[in-house]
Amino acid sequence: MTPLILTLCLLASLASCRREQRQLRHSPQASTRTGGIVRDAELQPGQPWPEVTVRNVSEERAWDLNEGQRLYRAYNCNGCHANGGGGMGPALMDESWIYGSHPENIHDVIVEGRPNGMPSFGGKIPDYQIWEITAYVRSMSGLVPKLAATGRTDHMQTKISEQSKKEEK
């Protein structure tokens, strides 16, 4: 009996780790850009840049991803990007990224804004929320661990859910 319980707990702890963490109180840190490298074209001069990326812990947490999804709607991101399909702004659920697909790239886009309409959210919303939105944006194109993504939202299905995406392909 005891070994059974221990094994089960061990298995569960391996599977859960960060995915189930919930941070309900946040540090009120203001958002600034991370200083990550902005890639605005496929071709870059000189040596290839090292692919060192910032680790966004929000990507591994189901709760944070869900918050990102909520904030994405709350802050009216879908006004321009629709539910990831794009409209006035570029689509977010496809493979192409104008300013890079790494977490810090997306984070900085949200903080600084970009020409042709993307407003700057720096100073308007706290940093942790930007990371959550970043995580959600990346989840739309399947760049985050699949297990942490939500199944669907309680809205019209304007897109396939994050989790059933892989099966559809």
Partner: protein, 627 residues
């Protein structure tokens, strides 16, 4: 000595395997029954600890003993544990242990199904607690209303764990119920016609039938929830044609009968105890049986009284008020019958009888507050407040836990061969009774004074401080009662008085064999000619003979009059049902993370099932036409 020789042979045939392997492979009903009883009692303790933690948090306003997130997990796990992991499995376990003895048989109909049920249930319970201990226990309440439990508002795997725990425990309950019904129909001692069955057997029978028709509803509901969360189905998404109330209908179509599933065996334990300690048959046997059946039927027609506040049409609500009120009548009949029985009997004050009185105090009060809640206007005020918390604990603890503790005290000598300590038993009862009323009576007032249920804290200015403190103190007193009961069990097990076959001078067939029963239950199967068999048994009451002692043969009798019909051979210990539970477990737990868990589980289960049903070498007549 022919008897001695037979004993040796039978003991060898029915020998219980020992150790870990024995635990995994044994399928004798006493083993499985005891597994259920012990495991569900452990879950009861865990649920109790959660209750104590919650009451500690609520002792003072704006308390910071636990966080709101953890509090939500606490009450969800507490409710789910008590309903799914304690009450129903305990009822089934007790039935699995006692009913075959009461029927005078050596084994249940489907021992391997029982074994499979137990391990499914165990895996489900461990799954829930693995999540809970790792701080991702479910947190949407034991009835997990969508959309709060849906994919949008409950990210992570918390609710998936809950939904799959439901799947496991339902499989367990359904398996146990099927086995119980078949056993009661076909394994009765010769002469025990349907109208001679002990009331406890009737209770288990009716409850098992309710399980068969109620549990599928929650399985359908929890599967819908799990698939909404995992593969993005739209059952509960209004924007795509789904409906959040569909969940409530399905859940309560199970959820209300669930209450009767728990409490009907409770009332029949009451009948057993009342008879045993007044030395008189319970008044109105036919009426008692009809009451159980009527409760079961009407119990399926009252689920909407959990949904009075959702704004359903008024006429419908009146119908459900009426049916909820109607269900009082059979229960009232039972209460009156017990009083009449006591009136005509002796009154032997032993610990179990104290629990009978405790039941009559608490359950009658809970039943009356239930009549209040059945009224739509009152329900609109009382629904989802602490009044409901008080009511449901009065009904469930009063209706199930009190008879259960009484019954465990009563059957303890049957399980162990030792008597429970009477003095300690009375102290236990005192703590139970006082602690219970202290905990839950103030909750009626709290509800009326506006305290909603499931709040992790309240403002100091609300005027709820003293009642909450009182309730918390009561919870600790009740906790001491539980500890005393366990202490009594341990002490009595070690140094209790030797019980003998029938220490209470009771009436039904489980006392017709030694305590604890030998592995083959009865040296010679008994026959009966009366409901209160032992009290009226003639000196020349015949016994049954003619079984091969080297095989696990049991007698099958006819449905109505229990006339001997044929024999069957029941299986020896085997690992396959446990493996099947494990295979199902792997499939269902994997299905929390990926839909591929379903085909994986089916494949593994297919292998285990083939192993289970693969024919053993024949030793009976073969078909003539074979080559």
């Amino acid at each position: 000595m022919i008897d001695l020789e037979l004993h040796v042979q039978l003991a060898e045939t029915w020998r219980k395997p020992r150790g870990l392997w024995g635990w995994l492979t044994d399928n004798h009903h006493t083993t499985i029954g005891m597994n259920f009883i012990v495991t569900s009692f452990v879950f009861f303790l865990l649920g109790g600890i959660e209750a104590i933690l919650m009451r500690t948090q609520l002792a003072r306003p704006e308390n910071h003993f636990v966080t709101n997130d953890f509090y939500n997990q606490l009450f969800t796990t507490h409710g789910s544990t008590m309903m799914f992991l304690f009450a129903v499995p305990m009822i089934e376990g007790l039935g699995i242990y006692i009913v075959p003895l009461m029927l005078g048989t050596r084994q249940m109909s489907f021992p391997r199904l029982n074994q499979f049920s137990y391990f499914s249930y165990l895996i489900g319970g461990l799954l829930l607690y693995a999540g809970f201990f790792l701080n991702f226990g479910p947190d949407a309440g034991w009835f997990s209303y969508v959309p709060l439990s849906g994919p949008e508002f409950a990210p992570g795997k918390r609710i998936d764990i809950w939904a799959q725990m439901i799947t496991f425990t339902e499989i367990g309950s359904l398996g146990g119920a099927v086995s119980m019904i078949a056993t009661i129909f076909k394994h009765r001692a010769p002469g025990m016609s349907l109208n001679r069955m002990p009331l406890f057997v009737w209770g288990e029978l009716v409850t098992s039938f309710m399980i068969v028709f109620a549990m599928p509803a929650v399985m359908v509901a929890s599967s819908m929830l799990a698939s909404d969360r995992l593969i993005a189905t739209q059952f509960f998404n209004k924007a795509e044609g789904g409906d959040v109330l569909l969940w409530q209908h399905l859940f309560w179509f199970f959820g209300h009968p669930e209450v009767y599933i728990i409490f009907i065996p409770g009332t029949t334990m009451m009948s057993t105890l009342v008879s045993a300690f007044t030395k008189r048959p319970v008044f109105g046997y036919v009426g008692m049986v009809l009451s159980l059946v009527a409760t079961a039927f009407v119990g399926f027609g009252v689920w909407v009284h959990h949904m009075f506040a959702t704004g359903l049409p008024e006429l419908g609500l009146s119908f459900f008020t009426a049916s909820s009120v109607l269900i009082t009548i059979p229960t009232a009949f039972q209460v009156f019958s017990w009083i009449i029985t006591i009136f005509h009997g002796k009154f032997i004050v032993r610990t179990p009888m104290l629990y009978v009185l405790g039941f009559l105090f608490i359950f009658v009060m809970g039943g009356l507050s239930g009549v209040m809640l059945a009224s739509t206007p009152l329900d609109w005020q009382l629904h989802d407040t602490f009044f409901v918390v008080a009511h449901l604990h009065y009904v469930l603890i009063g209706g199930m836990l009190f008879p259960l503790i009484g019954a465990l005290t009563y059957w303890f000598p049957k399980f162990t061969g030792k008597m429970m300590n009477e003095t300690l038993g009375r102290w236990t009862f005192a703590f139970f009774f006082v602690g219970f009323n202290l905990t839950f009576f103030p909750m009626h007032n709290l509800g009326l004074h506006g305290m909603p249920r499931r709040v992790y804290t309240y403002l100091p200015t609300m005027g709820w401080n003293n009642l909450n403190m009182l309730s918390t103190v009561g919870a600790y007193v009740l906790g001491v009662g539980v500890l005393l009961f366990m202490a009594n069990a341990v002490i009595s097990l070690r140094s209790g008085a030797i019980a003998g076959d029938n220490p209470w001078g009771s009436f039904s067939l489980e006392w017709f064999t030694s305590s604890p029963p030998p592995p083959y239950n009865f040296l010679y199967l008994p026959t009966t000619r009366d409901r209160y068999e032992i009290w009226t048994m003639a000196d020349d009451q015949p016994l049954v003979t003619g079984f091969r002692p080297d095989r696990r043969e049991v007698l099958i009798t006819k449905l109505m009059d229990a006339f001997p019909d044929h024999k069957i051979e029941t299986p020896r210990p085997t690992i396959w049902p446990t493996l099947l539970a494990g295979a199902t477990g792997i499939g269902v737990i994997t299905a929390i993370f990926t839909p591929w868990g379903v085909p994986l589980g089916m494949l593994l289960a297919g292998i285990a099932l083939t192993g289970w049903f693969w024919p053993k070498p024949p030793h009976h007549e073969l078909l003539e036409e074979q080559p």
